[in-house]
Structures are given as C-alpha cells and as structure tokens.
Symmetry: C2
Subunit: 441 residues, 2 copies
C-alpha cells in the first residue's frame, strides 16, 4: 500500500470515529458536559508546567527559524495566558447549554405538536495558525456544544498542540462518558486537503488564517466554510464632530482602531471624512499619525490638506494593510460613506463617529457588515469583548453565523414532530382536515 493510500485510510478512520463520537457526545446533557469542562480546566492547571515546557521547545525552534517579535509573542504560552484560558473555560461552564433549547413550538393539529430545538452541528474541522491558546478555547467550545472536532494547528506550535492533545486523553480517562474520539489532531497539510473531500463526515470547516487559506479552502470543498476572507474595516467621521471635544474623542477612537493592534482583522484600514470637517480633523490627526508612525495614503482632497502624504490608488480602497498604513478619503456626505463601505469593504466591522442620532441609525441600518458601530473603536469586534466566553472565529459570511462566533455557531436545529398516528392523506383533498398552526411558545 502506498504511503498516500495509508494516510487516506487513516484519515477516513479519524473522520468516521469523529462522527461516531459526535453521535455520542451530542446527547450527553448539560451536567456532564460542564463536568468535563471543569475537569479540563483543572487538568490545564495541574499540567501548566508541562504545557509551558513543551511550548518552550516550540519557542526554541521558532528562534532558530528566526521568527519575529509579534509571531513569537503569539506562540508563547505563559502563566497569564493559561490563566486566561482556564478563566475562559470556567466562564463557559456558567453559560447556558446552547443545545436543547426549544426555539419554537406549534400545535399543527390536536395531538400533532411540532418543536424546533437547537442541537449540536456535527464534526467541525478547524485549521488554525501559530497561537497554541486557540486549541484549548476551541476544544472547550466544542465540548460545551456537544460536537466533535478534527484540528490542524500550525507546525510552529506542534509541541504545544500535542501537549494539549495529551490533556484530552487524560480528560477522556477521567470522564469516561466522553466519546474517546471526539477530538483529534491532523499532522499534515495533505490530510487537511483530503479532509475537504468528505462532506459525509465533516459538517463545517473553520479556517482561522490568511485570506488565501480561507479562499482556497472555499474553492476546494462542498463542505460549508465559516471564515473571513478580509478585514477591511472603516471609520466614517460625520460632519457634526467638529467641536474640540468631539474632535478629541474622534482622534482617540481612530488612533485606537489603527494602532492598538494593527495586524488584527478588526483594525482600521480606511478612514472616511465628511468634507465639512476634513480640514480641521486632518490638521490635528497629522500629529497623532506622526507620533504613532501611521503612514497615510490620501485621496486628492486629503492631499490638498496634507500635501506630504502618499497618494491613494484605486487598489488602496480594497487593501487590508495589516500594518500602520491608513488610507483616507474625503466624502461629500453620509450616503457616499455608506456607498464606499458597501462597495469596497469586506462586511466585517465599520463604525460611524457622529452626534446626530438620525445619521447614526441610518449608518447602522445601511452598512451591510457583520458589526456596525457608533462612537466606538472597530477593535471591539471580538468574541471575548462581546461576552461570548470565547470565539471559534469571526465570520464575514452572510449565512449561518456572522461576526464574532461563539457557541451558537456550533449549533443548528432540528424539528421534532410528535403525533398520534396521523397521515398526510387526512389533510389533503375534498374532506381535508384543516391545520391549526397554533403557537405554543
């Protein structure tokens, strides 16, 4: 048997086992799932030294491979990060069970009652990059929701990821009601590509990574993919923000959105300024930009006010810089800002800074993005900040789940109909019985 054939057989077994585990974990009930989560949190605390020692191996390799500062920081597991992970798991225990919620109940007829009830989704395939703390977050969301998961972590974090998988084995031993195969770790890119060919076993793919990764996965599979292809976020500053106080506030939010974590997907890429306040805003902003190392690419009107900045090209309006570059465009009014955002944006997170409540509502209703903010930094778009306990990712899709996705992205619903022997033939034709369709909830 060739190596590839062997690998495919191994993968098929992994996926089949994951599906079987899903059927088992899906019906566990809230109490057991929470007990397992508590145990997982304890195991992380008990094995913190080991986790950090394994992580140290990854860090050493990364230094040999000359990884840079921010990447090293993302890769590093320390006491603070582990404490946050454990806290996140305990927060998750407190949240209500996302499965088993009765979403609707209708009496179709006497003795024929329809229930719509939330249920776990199935086998989730998650592909993530170098942050090893993603792994326990994802594992705990999957446990809480009653799903099964097949993971592929970044090569840079392989020792850390393997250490977390060892904890899963210990968890399964301490909680024997868990299906043994509810979580597994793939170890090659080839296995990920193969996984895309199995819609019969894998119900949802969540790629957490580059635009390229997400887009190539979407093109290669029939399995639904939840991810965000780009994070081109905007702030529009309305004409009524010209007072010194409002201006200071606007500057603070713009700097925060651009500077606080420039490589995040919810960081600011394009600033839109109402022409009535463009001059006063830009004159002040020039100092903030200089102080924070922001490199401005401006439209013609921006350049007329700040002659030293770079000219923005058409391509800039649809660029995710991921660094301290900021494109700026002066617009005639709110509608032009909304039009620009809907056309060039990535439907991720966009904000208006304004006082006029009518302008604010028009913006929030008309901008077609997962997150629309008024007078707040775009950087708030995040599962933890939204209070979801953790997030499996941020979605810019228009179906299933949108924006920061926590537990609810991992459930769907089924319809349960309880009857007393009814046939459809009784409800059609000449002497058809009528339906009652009486809401019971």
């Amino acid at each position: 048997m060739s190596q590839l054939t062997q690998e495919i057989e191994q993968l098929e077994k992994t996926l089949k086992d994951a599906k079987a585990a899903f059927y088992q974990n899906a019906v566990l009930g809230a109490e057991k799932k929470n007990e397992a989560l508590e145990t997982f949190a304890l195991l992380i605390e008990e094995n913190a030294a080991h986790l950090m020692a394994e992580n140290q191996k990854d860090l050493e390799q990364a230094r040999q491979d000359q990884l840079q500062g921010q990447l090293l920081n993302r890769l590093k597991l320390d006491n603070a990060k582990l404490a946050q992970v454990v806290q996140g798991i305990r927060d998750l225990v407190k949240l209500p069970d996302p499965a088993g919620k009765i979403l609707a109940k209708t009496k179709l007829d006497d003795g024929l009652v329809l229930e719509k009830i939330s249920v776990p989704l199935g086998v989730i395939g998650i592909i993530f990059e170098s942050r090893p703390d993603v792994m326990p977050q994802v594992l705990s969301l999957v446990l809480k929701s009653g799903n099964a998961v097949v993971l592929k972590g970044g090569r840079e974090a392989r020792h850390s990821n393997a250490a977390f998988m060892d904890l899963v084995k210990k968890l399964n031993a301490r909680c024997p009601y868990l299906a043994n195969t509810w979580a597994s770790l793939l170890d090659s890119r080839e296995a990920v590509h193969q996984m895309l060919n199995y819609p019969e076993y894998v119900d949802l793919i969540i790629p957490r990574g580059s635009n390229q990764l997400v887009s190539s996965i979407m093109a290669a599979t029939k399995i639904p993919v939840m991810g965000h292809a780009d994070g081109i976020c905007h702030i529009y500053v309305h004409q009524d923000m010209g007072s010194p106080e409002a201006l200071a506030q606007a500057l603070k939010m713009v700097v925060d959105a651009k500077v606080q974590y420039p490589s995040a997907c919810n960081a600011l890429e394009t600033l839109l300024l109402h022409e009535a306040i463009a001059k006063v805003f830009l004159q002040d902003f020039a100092k903030d930009a200089k102080k924070n190392g922001i490199m401005i690419k401006g439209c013609e009107k921006t350049m007329a006010i700040l002659p030293d900045c770079q000219p923005a090209s058409e391509a800039d309006w649809s660029s995710e810089y991921g660094d301290l570059t900021l494109s700026i465009k002066v617009v005639p009014d709110l509608d032009a800002a909304v039009g620009h955002i809907n056309h060039y944006g990535s439907h991720h997170t966009d904000a208006i800074l304004a006082k006029d409540p009518e302008a604010i509502e028009r913006f929030l209703n008309s901008v077609d993005s997962a997150c629309v903010f008024a007078n707040a930094s775009t950087r708030f778009a995040d599962g933890f900040r939204f209070g979801f306990g953790a997030e499996v990712g941020i979605s810019t899709a228009k179906t299933h789940a949108r924006g920061p996705v926590g537990l609810e992205g991992l459930v769907i619903y089924k319809y349960k109909l309880r009857g007393q022997g009814q046939a459809v033939a009784d409800y059609v034709g000449e002497n058809a019985k009528p339906f009652r369709h009486e809401p019971l909830l």
Copy 2:
C-alpha cells in the same frame, strides 16, 4: 464584442442592480413591505385570466413535447392554485417581520451597548424547475424579508414565469418605494453558471431541483448553497407496535408516507422493522403493498417472511427511488435502526412508530436529521404543513437553515454597538477597565 462577453456584461449589470436593490429594500420597514405584498396579491387576482392564458401556452408546448401526467399537473396553473398562492401571500402579510428583531442585547460597559438584530441576507439566487407557482411564493418571501432575488425558472414554464415578471413590473409601478431591480429572471442556463462566479453580488444560492443539479452547483461555487441533495427517508416500527390497533395505525402511516406522493423528497424509501414485530407487520403489509402497487425490496429476514419480494442490495439502502419501490430491513433493536438511518440516510426526515416514550425520545434525540417524527407520516415535512406560510426549499445542510425553510432562512443578523467614544486600549493592560457583559434582554 462576442455574444458571451455581452451576456456576461448583462449578467454583471443584473447582479449589481440586484445588490443595489437589496440595499434599498432592506431598510423599507414592515408596513411598506406588507403593503407591497397586499398589492402583489391583488395583482395576481386582477390578472388571473392572463396568467392562466400564458400558462396555457406552456401547457400546449408541454403536450407537444409529450410531457407526462404528473409533470403536466405540476406545470398547470388553475384557479385553485392561484387562490392558494394568493392565500399564502396574505398569510405572509400576517406573519411578523423577520427582519429587525432584537435577538440579544448586552451592556458591555456603561454607555457601550451591543445589540444583535436580524437583517435580510442580500441577493438570493434561486433556480427552480417546472412548477410556475413556485415563482410568486419565492417573490413574496423575498419581498417580506427585504431581500433581492435573481431567478431562473424551468424552460417548460417560461411563458408563465414571464407573466409573473410582468406583474412584478406592475407592482413596482404601484409601489414606487420598491427598488425597481429587486427581482429579475435569467433566461439561460449559461447565465446561471456565470452567476456562480459572483460571490461579491450573490449571497445565497437555492437550487430547487434534482440531486445532480444541487450537487453540481455546490461543487462549482464559493457562494453558500442551501438545498437538499437527497431525500432518503425512513420509518422505524418499534417492537411495541404489535397490537392489532397499533399495527393498523402503523400500516396507515407507512402507506401514507410511501404512496401519498411517491416522488416527493419526504416520501418513504426504507422501512425498518424491529424483529419482534416483523412477521406480523409484514403479513398484513403484503396486502396493502399489493393494493397500492408498492414493490418491495427486502433484506434476507424480510425475504424469509415474504419470499416473493425482490432482494435488496447494499445500494438499495442509499437509494432515493421516487416511485413505489420500498426497501425493507429487519433490525434487532432501536439502536440498530438509528445506526442504519444515520449511516445510510440523507438527514432529511425520519420517523419512529412506537408507544414507549423512552424509545421515542431516544430516537428523536439520536437520529441526526432535519426532521425527526414520532407516530406521524414523513410527508408532514413541509413548510406549509409546518405553518411557515410558504417555503423556499427544504435543506439537508447542517448550517444556516435546516428542514423546510421559510422566511428565517432569508435573514441573518448583524451586531450594532452604540458607544460614547470608547477605545479598546482602555480595556487592556495594567489598568484595564473591566467589561460588564450584562444581559439587557
């Protein structure tokens, strides 16, 4: 310019116009949308004679093309069907607006409030076959939800479909607040294939047609596809259905599920019998099968009881016959039935016939299908019967929308965050402000 280039340019314009129309219709509000629906219902009543005359042209062509009885019936528009369509639209008017619902509300901090609110989804691409009454149903669901739609109907119904599009023009004239381009009809298969290449304009594809159609569309596009690939539905008869009364009821439901409309996706394909009641059930069922023209393909145990039936092969357990063929398998217990259904089924609709409440609940929880029924025919799985007013289709997907899909499959949500100038930098680091995450709903 080549003809193809021209066609592609035309399609791009259609899709761009649809997107622009979506932005306009999305913010109309319930009152105007309902007024438009009422007007549409009136227009259908006023133009019923014209609609039926145009439909007559399709029927004549179909007779020339030697279409068969059931296909002709599906194609035919008569007063009864139009009355049902009009009634469906008026039922839809009475339903609450699916958009603008506040789904969750959280105080992240003082003066920083997050709202999760339902919104229309965008541009929906719908491909459907010969039933012309699908068209007004889909149009009214799209109107009610505030979306835009690009339709492709079956060639057999082209006069009828064009007549409905003429009504849309009249509707737009009477309701000038509607965006003119909210609905358009594609006229070639090539245009449908091209549409799959535009995820920037089309947010969801709903193919209503053959397995092949749905599957080939899924493989060819990054756009989310909502549809069902197969309808392999099961009924499992539990061991406690052996009394004469229970047996009579079970026979009635099995015959209904198989015979009432054999080509429907929710019709029965495989019957699973607990071995304790197999003999008594099959001896009675043989007469019903003969009377109704049901052709049985049985497992070995079935053949031991009914020696005249055909043997079932492995392929039968995953076949959607769409006719009066029925495969039958005798199983040792409920778990075997559940295992068979989850393995061979299409996760569409499966039913248990039983008395024991524990067995019923175990089946409803463990079978991983969109619709799980107890003591009712699988044929109840339908948007009208469930009380949704109309349906855009039935989904066997595990994401977004599952089972019969009405209005709610055409909406998603966005997060609105209203602040007072907050920056994320205030909530991180040493002197971080804590989040409050206080539910307001």
